[in-house]
């Protein structure tokens, strides 16, 4: 079914660029509260997300890498390497935690916007491929995306 004139074993041309996306799931608690606001202001801004004992979500983190498809592996990046990286740097760090207790959110409200930017910073350090986008679905009705750049004031 090869096209007419198409060689059976073509030499790989310059590698085309593709995007690979992988989803990871983590469950965490958080409470939205800013020390810069009064109690009333916190309630006005964050509503029930400001309830004192926190609440939680099943977050779905989607990371997208872009790059040439390696002609030897057929891959943008090695999935095993990416999963191992995500286990160490994402899941071991955030899954089944209370985000407010983590060092990164000591002076930063753990909104999903801020979580998305932090996770972008984490995956930008993955050595195997170039990070294009991180998005997080907080509930089935809301999601957040960050396409960079890395905030130079942090990390």
């Amino acid at each position: 079914m090869s096209g007419p004139g198409e060689p059976r074993h073509p030499t790989p041309a310059a590698a085309p660029r593709a995007h690979l996306s992988r989803r990871y799931r983590l469950s965490a608690a958080h409470r939205l509260h800013s020390d810069a606001f009064t109690a009333d202001r916190n309630r006005a801004v964050y509503g029930k997300c400001n309830n004192p004992h926190g609440h939680g979500h099943n977050y779905i983190v989607e990371v997208t890498f872009s790059g040439p498809v390696d002609p030897e592996t057929g891959m943008v990046c090695n999935l095993g390497d990416l999963d191992a990286f995500a286990q160490t740097h994402l899941l071991d760090r955030f899954d089944a935690t209370n985000l407010n207790t983590l060092e990164v959110f000591r002076d930063l409200v753990p909104t999903t916007e801020n979580l998305t930017i932090e996770i972008y910073r984490i995956f930008a350090a993955f050595p195997g491929a170039s990070l294009a986008r991180v998005s997080i679905q907080e509930t089935s009705n809301n999601s957040f995306a960050y396409l960079g750049p890395i905030d130079s004031q942090k990390g």
């Binding site: 074993h9 593709a18 690979l20 996306s21 990871y24 498809v69 592996t73």
Partner: protein
Amino acid sequence: MVLLTRKAEFSSAHYYWNDSWSPQENQRIFGKCANRNGHGHNYTLEVTVAGEVDPVSGFVVDLKQLKDILEREVVSVYDHRHLNLEVPEFATRIPTTENIAISIWKRLDGKIPNAKLHRVRVYEMPDLFADYYGEP
């Protein structure tokens, strides 16, 4: 311009193997995907086309026509097949999700009347997918 996306599904077997590497190297790089007996997935294909809305029909493309093109060019070739053994482009290219997206682009490019192929997205499973925008 409006983007329109149509989904299709196919179920196929595959394995990952590079003939120019040793078996040990294949195992190291591809892990369990290198098992030569193969394994399978329910793939979901999303094809997005871009075009102008026809003022008479109100369509970018006729969805039935697009469905038939996906069936003819992709699903009838890939569905319930072993990609490495039965689909010609994967005789020489490893059927990774990335390469499947690129191959489907090549199969569809230029075959959709009145619209331009914008993106091919292939889900190998709900948590893993590849996008190809025709970038050389």
